[in-house]
Symmetry: C2
Subunit: 333 residues, 2 copies
């Protein structure tokens, strides 16, 4: 691997994304991508007594599914990178405690899945055969933890996003026939002073812009190089802001840009307002939908850029703004 510019690593022997899997919840079952997921649950509990336990089960079974589909024996998977939105990332640590694979816990809020793919790619490029990545979120556990009790039936402004119930998982391998992770552009923390916890898209868009511009500068590529530029998860509001900000900097991404939070729900009919969010949104949209598009050669080159809002409930109560971060990876056939 070698460093390109300020924040990008280019891989000399790009690792392959060998296989992916995704499991999502009932709201996602009614969304436009339902047919791409390995499993859609009919309720938010999946037989568990609490939402937190259900989320752990979702990430556990998603990981079991990707291992099963890949045909790689689990003792040949050398490392795991995983994280989620729950306090102290308990969805991952409880869900994956029987995995028996060396484990690196990561936290990048909704950018976690691409953070994991980035680190996995560095490991695979440097001789590690197979690395597992996973991330999850759950609408009910997230609302309970970050916002209000669901029983309150609180109203949500139009800029609010809807946390995806779901998980995505991928196995990144040293060798294989692609799709390949060719570059990673790792984001810096960007805080433009947005304080509205119901407008995460606006809080994260400047971080997405920073990473996007840096990626183009570091690689010398232009937006048109990619069949698709996909953020996760700015939602409708953040997507529009990013499109405008990028145009102001001379990059027109209108024709090939979309966002996982805009893809996973029909935001007009599903009452999801600005769109999906949560670690599980980008993870499941990539692992379900985008990976199949790549494998079927409907997409040949994508820039996947996950964005995270690095905040919690206490910091909002203490009047803090919301720092954002965005991690990008180039995935090419």
């Amino acid at each position: 691997m070698k460093k390109l510019g300020k924040q990008t690593i280019k891989f000399d022997n790009p690792p392959t994304i060998l296989e992916t899997a995704s499991i999502v919840g009932p709201k996602e079952l009614n969304g436009p991508l339902a047919k791409y997921f390995d499993k859609c649950l009919e309720d938010e509990f999946w037989g568990e007594k609490t939402w937190e336990k259900a989320e752990s089960k979702i990430i556990k079974e998603t990981v079991n599914t990707v291992i099963g589909k890949s045909g790689v024996p689990s003792d040949k998977i050398e490392y795991c990178f995983a994280g989620d939105l729950l306090n102290q990332c308990i969805s991952s640590s409880f869900g994956l405690r029987e995995l028996n694979i060396p484990f690196f816990g990561i936290f990048g809020a909704c950018s976690t899945f691409v953070e994991g793919l980035s680190l996995a790619a560095v490991f695979a490029e440097n001789g590690i055969e197979n690395v597992l990545c996973a991330a999850s979120s759950h609408f009910c556990s997230a609302e309970k933890q970050f916002r209000f009790p669901l029983e309150l039936g609180n109203q949500r402004p139009q800029s609010a996003q809807w946390t995806v119930t779901g998980a995505g998982s991928a196995i990144v391998s040293k060798s294989g026939n692609g799709p390949y992770i060719t570059h990673i552009t790792t984001g810096k923390i960007v805080d433009m002073g947005i304080k509205d916890a119901n407008n995460m898209g606006a809080a994260m868009a400047p971080a997405a812009l920073s990473t996007l511009l840096t990626h183009f500068e570091d690689t010398g590529r232009k937006p048109s190089y990619y069949d698709a530029i996909i953020t996760g998860d700015l939602g409708e509001v953040g997507k529009e802001i990013l499109t405008e900000l990028a145009l102001g900097k001379g990059y027109n991404i209108k024709s090939n840009y979309n966002d996982c939070g805009c893809l996973i729900f029909d935001n007009k009919t599903q009452d999801t307002h600005s769109g999906g969010s949560g670690c599980g949104c980008c993870a499941s949209v990539f692992s379900g939908y985008l990976f199949r598009q790549l494998r079927d050669k409907k997409l040949n080159r994508i820039l996947l850029m996950a964005t995270g809002a690095l905040t919690n409930a206490t910091s909002s109560q203490q009047g803090e703004s919301i720092p954002g971060i965005a991690h990008a990876i180039s995935i090419e056939l």
Copy 2:
């Protein structure tokens, strides 16, 4: 780098720990290691209005201190790995939001600092010049979040540990004159069913045993190879359990084994019961005390193994047990 055995990576060109820094709180100022820290605070707030903001300031100033001491311009530091115990790791993301360095958030509970050093070493071995690591904890913010309001004056059983107020930070560099990170042994999640949140040492000791035995098996080394084997943070209770468990497996570590949680406080006179804990414990004890011992050649080879309890307040209330993890690194002159 190359894989040794099941869980260990051996570095062909071992990265150097170029510099470290540590800032701790008032309780640590009265402990036996006070003279080794760069700064000891006189109160838990450091001029901030909340404990969370104070913790962010501690990690921020610790990072500024290590960058200043190292002489490396901050634009030559290519990546940062950092994490803490607060929900969604806000100490790191708020404290380091002005850092302007590509940022990977990590979570390994009290194992976070060694997780960061492990990942930094992989990056530095593979061509990245300088990588920053940091971790923090704060007694007051941790008690508030994980246990009871401090104002309650709740009693603590003798097996309870005392979260360290403090942060440690290190710069890991591709080239330098040591001390070198020669091996990393990454832990698996181990859950032996301990449910007592006031006995984290017992919950984490089996994970420490797993990583310790695996490290010896993977490297072919024996306990006597090391001048010191240092865990962080099993405390007095966990230290005794690990010593006994290791002896039962044929490894006698009695003569050269200690724990950061036993070193940072005088547990008999400081009312800290089983000893220190928290991401900041291992981070500050290594960055303050152990690094100087290595630099002064009082120690030549150490195995630093940080242990984490992957739990949160909700999981305890839901009757879950406490999974543990332990990450080890060999540091040699």
